[in-house]
């Protein structure tokens, strides 16, 4: 990313950092919401009571834990390929 920002002033760089922080927060919320949706969908199938039963609660915990572990694993696999932010394949690069 540094190469992309050659000649860009400190205040502009800071503006970018703020935008990135903002994006990160939004993404975390999206990720959280989609994980809730996925685990709810997979773990909660009956509506005989209004509280999560023991089985459902444990399933949700396992589902969440597993997703976090799977994300970490995917991150490692991704890095192993040598991909990093700002290093999209050449055809994706512009300007």
């Amino acid at each position: 990313m540094n190469a992309m920002l050659a000649g860009v002033s400190e205040s502009e760089r800071q503006r970018l950092m703020m935008m990135l922080e903002d994006m990160q927060i939004k993404e975390q919320v999206t990720m959280y919401n989609s994980l809730v949706e996925r685990c709810f969908n997979n773990c909660v199938t009956s509506f005989r009571s209004k509280t999560l039963d023991d089985r459902e609660e444990k399933c949700i915990t396992r589902c969440t834990t597993k997703f976090i572990k799977a994300s970490a694993r995917a991150g490692q696999a991704f890095q192993a390929i040598g991909m990093q932010p700002g290093e999209l394949p050449p055809h994706r690069r512009r300007g």
């Binding site: 760089r13 970018l16 994006m23 997703f67 995917a74 390929i81 932010p85 700002g86 394949p89 690069r93």
Partner: protein, 80 residues
């Protein structure tokens, strides 16, 4: 460098990062859905780990293939 050029560079960087992270999150979602089959326990099974590794690698390859094909086909269509 002019203020305008600097803003352009910052916007380009932001767009690139946002495209990258969108792709990355889609990949995570796809690979989790395709590779993790049950929630009987909270550890990833060996097969699930192997699947995730392969899925990530294939996703990146597919991304490159789509991009290359898009570029090729689009330029062919423009020549007609």
């Amino acid at each position: 460098m002019s203020k305008q050029e600097q803003e352009q560079r910052v916007n380009n960087a932001k767009n690139e990062i946002s495209a990258f992270s969108d792709m990355y999150n889609r990949m995570l979602k796809q690979c989790f859905e395709k590779c993790v089959e049950h929630y009987h326990d909270s550890e990833l099974a060996l097969g699930e780990n192997v699947c995730i590794d392969r899925c990530v690698s294939k996703y990146v390859s597919a991304q490159e293939k789509v991009g290359a094909t898009m570029t090729k086909v689009t330029s062919q269509m423009q020549q007609i």
